[in-house]
């Protein structure tokens, strides 16, 4: 038996003008935007190669993180197509690919590390004492890394 090999792209959706805001669009809206971008940038050949395997696995509207899956052989078409997406519905967006991994698990491992790195800047940007305490509590929670990957994996399944 041969395994069907996939690749996963972990992307951050940046909304120009509001750096810390949340995004509000659904998985299907994002999927349609990616599909449309592949059609215009890679034509019928591109969509023919990717239509089967393309899927939006995970979307986090709070942290503006999305996870996209596609076949490994043609994954370069997905990564090149997503950078050309400028609008999803009525929202202006910019995609920033953070990580490309071979499994969902690896992507989430990276995501946790990525968020952990952003704690110091979060702490500095806090306005009130309550916020500072909240961030500190999060840092303590994050130290228990063994459970957090599991928790994220459970969340999407």
């Amino acid at each position: 038996m041969v395994r069907f090999k996939n690749r996963y792209a972990l992307c951050e959706v940046i909304v120009p003008g509001q750096e810390n805001g949340s995004i509000n669009f659904t998985k299907s809206k994002l999927y349609r935007a990616i599909k449309q971008s592949i059609i215009s940038n890679h034509g019928d050949y591109g969509i023919g190669a990717l239509d089967q395997s393309l899927r939006v696995i995970y979307i986090n509207t709070g942290t503006r993180i999305v996870l996209i899956r596609a076949e490994r052989k043609y994954f370069h078409m997905v990564t090149s197509a997503i950078i050309f997406i400028r609008k999803i519905g009525l929202h202006d967006v910019i995609f920033k690919t953070l990580h490309v991994g071979g499994s969902i698990r690896q992507c989430f491992k990276f995501l946790i590390k990525y968020h952990q790195k952003s704690f110091p800047s979060m702490y500095q940007s806090c306005q009130t004492e309550d916020d500072k305490i909240k961030v500190l509590e999060s840092i303590i929670d994050a130290c228990d890394a063994s459970t957090s990957v599991k928790a994220l994996m459970d969340k999407i399944s």
Binding site: I38, H42, G43, D44, Y45
Partner: protein, 126 residues
């Protein structure tokens, strides 16, 4: 009569990687809907680019495709980078309708890494 030793002969044209592939193509319209002789090189190139854009998209259309020569009856010689040659060949073959809904077809008559090879066609020999 002496038996000669086995003569080894080989013809090596080239074993290098060639940067370009030259395609001799012909554009035909169904039922003579449009006169191909009246097409300007710019219009011809536009149709070629339309064909590539349809199947390979904007990124595929960014490959440098040159029309070296355009004769009567829609015959032309195209120069394409050899890496993208098959894809562009396929894109030309798949093209069937122009932007003005006229049915047309690109026929790839000859393809070669050497431009000189297109000067003669063994299928035309008698």
């Amino acid at each position: 009569m002496e038996v000669q030793e086995e003569v080894k002969s080989s013809l090596l044209i080239s074993d290098k990687h060639h940067p370009f592939v030259y395609l001799k193509i012909q554009l035909t319209f169904e039922n003579g809907e449009e006169d191909v002789n009246e097409l300007t090189p710019v219009q011809f190139k536009f149709l070629v680019m339309q064909a590539i854009k349809e199947t390979l998209g904007e990124i595929g259309a960014s490959t440098p495709v040159d029309i070296l020569k355009l004769w009567d009856e829609g015959l032309a010689i195209l120069r394409v980078p050899s890496i993208e040659a098959e894809k562009i060949w396929a894109a030309l073959t798949l093209y069937s309708t122009t932007a003005t809904q006229k049915k047309c077809a690109f026929r790839v008559l000859q393809a070669s890494a050497f431009l000189l090879a297109l000067s003669v066609n063994s299928r035309d020999l008698r």
